[in-house]
């Protein structure tokens, strides 16, 4: 009976995800959902970087911007097809990520986060000041929307494209997590000196993690450029980077679903709080950050693990799968 219950709940969630665009009648909410999927891809990269490899990046919006503007410039100024634009944006931010991984060999935690902040700020300043290339604060217009044959994508089509890419991302992350590379990353995260003595190259893991998360951010940027149709420097400021890290933390750092849960929750949170009362127009921003602070304080492990733990309690399974490593370590102590 309990097992059937589990099957029913999971298949309901599955059906909801697959048929969401047909259930949702509100076009704006569907657009927000598409943004949420893009953010989920990006936050998954951060979960990979921070949760698995133990490195901090507060400059993820820089990679996001590199991907978006590369794709935009290639498709508008050079008339390249859209896939080539997105792929070259991904590759360019991959290269930037590999370069940014060099400081991580020497620096840790706060110092590394300062380097990444500086990187993100430099990219943002370049975007807003190189007006001849990026359009600067006036914005960059006329980026083509995705199309297939003669069918120009609407929000429903975008939803499925992003969903497939997100599922691919999660699958790749799952495979890497259970490979030699992933396990060595977890070892580096726990103690990189001990990992080095066991013959694990910490540089390899760090380089890979930085490159992978940067590539994901670049891809997300390219997708965003072709979803929105125009670009301005605003989505690439430092506070967006901090929002992406908040997504990873709120979702749960050591959980594969963390990026998805955090991305969807934090993208929808301001929209839910945007009530239509008089005098409430501005307060939703205050409450959004306030709720994030509360979640970080009261659920340091994130929503993802707590959610799965709650679901497991429904059918009384004490599966280890939903426990984070931190919990396991704590219970051993």
């Amino acid at each position: 009976m309990r097992k059937k219950f589990k099957l029913i709940i999971y298949s309901l969630i599955f059906i909801l995800i697959i048929f969401y665009p047909f259930i949702e009648k509100n076009e704006y909410r569907l657009y927000v959902m598409n943004r949420a999927l893009i953010h989920s891809i990006l936050a998954s990269g951060l979960v990979f970087l921070t949760g698995f490899a133990g490195q901090i990046s507060l400059g993820q919006a820089g990679f996001y911007g590199i991907g978006a503007y590369t794709s935009g410039i290639l498709t508008v100024n050079f008339n390249m097809p859209i896939p080539i634009g997105i792929i070259s944006g991904t590759v360019l931010s991959l290269i930037a990520g590999l370069i940014l991984s060099i400081p991580s060999f020497k620096l840790k935690a706060f110092f590394l986060s300062l380097v990444t902040i500086a990187f993100g700020q430099i990219i943002w300043l370049l975007i807003s000041n190189l007006q001849s290339i990026t359009g600067g604060p006036r914005g960059f217009f006329g980026i083509p929307l995705m199309y297939f044959g003669k069918f120009i994508f609407n929000n429903k089509a975008y939803y499925y494209v992003f969903l497939i890419l997100l599922i691919l991302t999660i699958l790749i992350m799952y495979r890497i997590k259970h490979s030699y590379l992933g396990r060595s990353m977890l070892a580096i995260n726990d103690d990189d000196v001990a990992a080095e003595t066991c013959g694990i190259s910490s540089r390899k893991g760090k380089t890979f993690a930085f490159g992978f998360s940067a590539a994901l951010a670049g891809m997300a940027g390219g997708l965003y450029a072709h979803l929105a149709g125009f670009l301005s420097p605003e989505p690439f400021v430092f506070f967006e980077s901090s929002k992406f890290v908040a997504m990873a933390i709120v979702g749960g750092l050591r959980h594969l679903s963390g990026g998805v849960i955090g991305g969807v929750t934090l993208t929808f949170l301001p929209e839910i709080l945007r009530l239509n009362y008089r005098g409430w127009e501005n307060y939703y921003l205050v409450f959004t950050s306030f709720i994030i602070v509360l979640i970080v304080i009261f659920l340091p492990n994130g929503l993802g693990p707590s959610l799965f733990k709650g679901l497991d309690k429904l059918w009384e399974e004490n599966g280890m799968s939903s426990q984070t490593l931190r919990n396991i370590r704590k219970s051993k102590k």
Binding site: F111, I117, F238, V245, I249, Y283, V296
Partner: protein, 300 residues
């Protein structure tokens, strides 16, 4: 390109830079006592500037009272930061990263609170340090008098900090706690009190820096946003996150470099240049350039 130009840039950069050093001191005090970085460090600058604006211009309480009230409120905010953010997170097993994200979100929270209550437009700062158009002129040399006032006030403050840290028992206790918490506790130092004190000192110094920066940047959201905060972090990094004097010197250095890059290259890329220098310094000497206090072996 003449001598008085260089001198002008030097003094202008130094007086802005020394306030960056003050912002960096906030980082240093917290790092010494709890080994955490408060990313909402710069918010206290914005808060105190807005509070001062409220008390002085809107409530007309007079200079001394509005200064005292705004700084006391910012100090109370420091205590709140400890008992509402730091302690709950550490009690639930949250590590550094959780503190980082919580403080980043607090930074965003304060920005939004200010937008809700004061609106996004910059407010004019009351003319306490003279009019914005007042210039000190010696021959060809001319500099807004605000800069000289700032330099003077911060120099006096640095001297007070020096007395506090080196000549008083409180300073000794603070430094002992910074070096080794457990041993300091064994020696009969009230570590709980010194932790409170460093939270208070951290937010108050940044608050003073905020009031001093307000004549230059106006009472605006820029005081609580990325730029100045990151320069404060850079100043703290130059001092190796532990040396107060090194931090002040680092701030001076950053301010001067920034001013000269505006003068020689362009004002749009001055931030790019200062961030680039920050990255190079971090890679070259992660322990800080002006760090005479202690060598930290592991920078975890």
């Amino acid at each position: 390109m003449e001598f008085y130009n260089i001198l002008q840039n030097l003094i202008g950069g130094a007086s802005v830079g020394i306030t960056y050093g003050m912002v960096g001191l906030g980082v240093v005090f917290l790092w010494q006592s709890i080994n955490r970085i408060n990313f909402a460090n710069i918010s206290s600058a914005m808060l105190s500037a807005y509070l001062f604006y409220t008390f002085y211009t809107q409530a007309k309480l007079g200079f001394v009272f509005s200064l005292i009230f705004s700084l006391v409120l910012v100090a109370i905010y420091g205590i709140c930061l400890r008992f509402l953010i730091y302690e709950p997170i550490s009690r639930r097993g949250g590590a550094r990263l959780e503190f980082v994200v919580a403080t980043l979100m607090i930074c965003v929270l304060w920005l939004n609170v200010i937008i809700v209550f004061y609106g996004g437009l910059p407010k004019p700062f009351p003319h306490i340090f003279g009019e914005a158009t007042d210039f000190v002129r010696v021959g060809k040399f001319s500099l807004p008098s605000v800069y000289l006032y700032i330099f003077l006030v911060v120099s006096i403050l640095v001297f007070i900090i020096h007395l506090l840290l080196r000549k008083s028992f409180i300073g000794k206790a603070l430094r002992a706690t910074a070096q080794n918490k457990d041993v300091a506790q064994l020696m009969g130092i009230n570590v709980d009190l010194t932790t409170n004190l460093s939270f208070i000192l951290s937010t108050t110094f940044v608050g003073i820096a905020g009031i001093l920066l307000a004549p230059i940047y106006f009472v605006s959201l820029e005081l609580g946003g990325g730029g100045i905060g990151i320069k404060g972090f850079s100043a703290a990094v130059v001092g190796g996150l532990i040396d107060p004097y090194g931090t002040i010197l680092g701030g001076l250095l950053i301010g001067i470099i920034e001013n000269f890059s505006t003068f020689f290259i362009s004002s749009t890329y001055k931030d790019v240049i200062s961030f680039f220098i920050l990255v190079i310094v971090l890679l070259w000497k992660p322990n800080g350039i002006f760090n005479w206090t202690t060598r930290q072996e592991t920078l975890l």
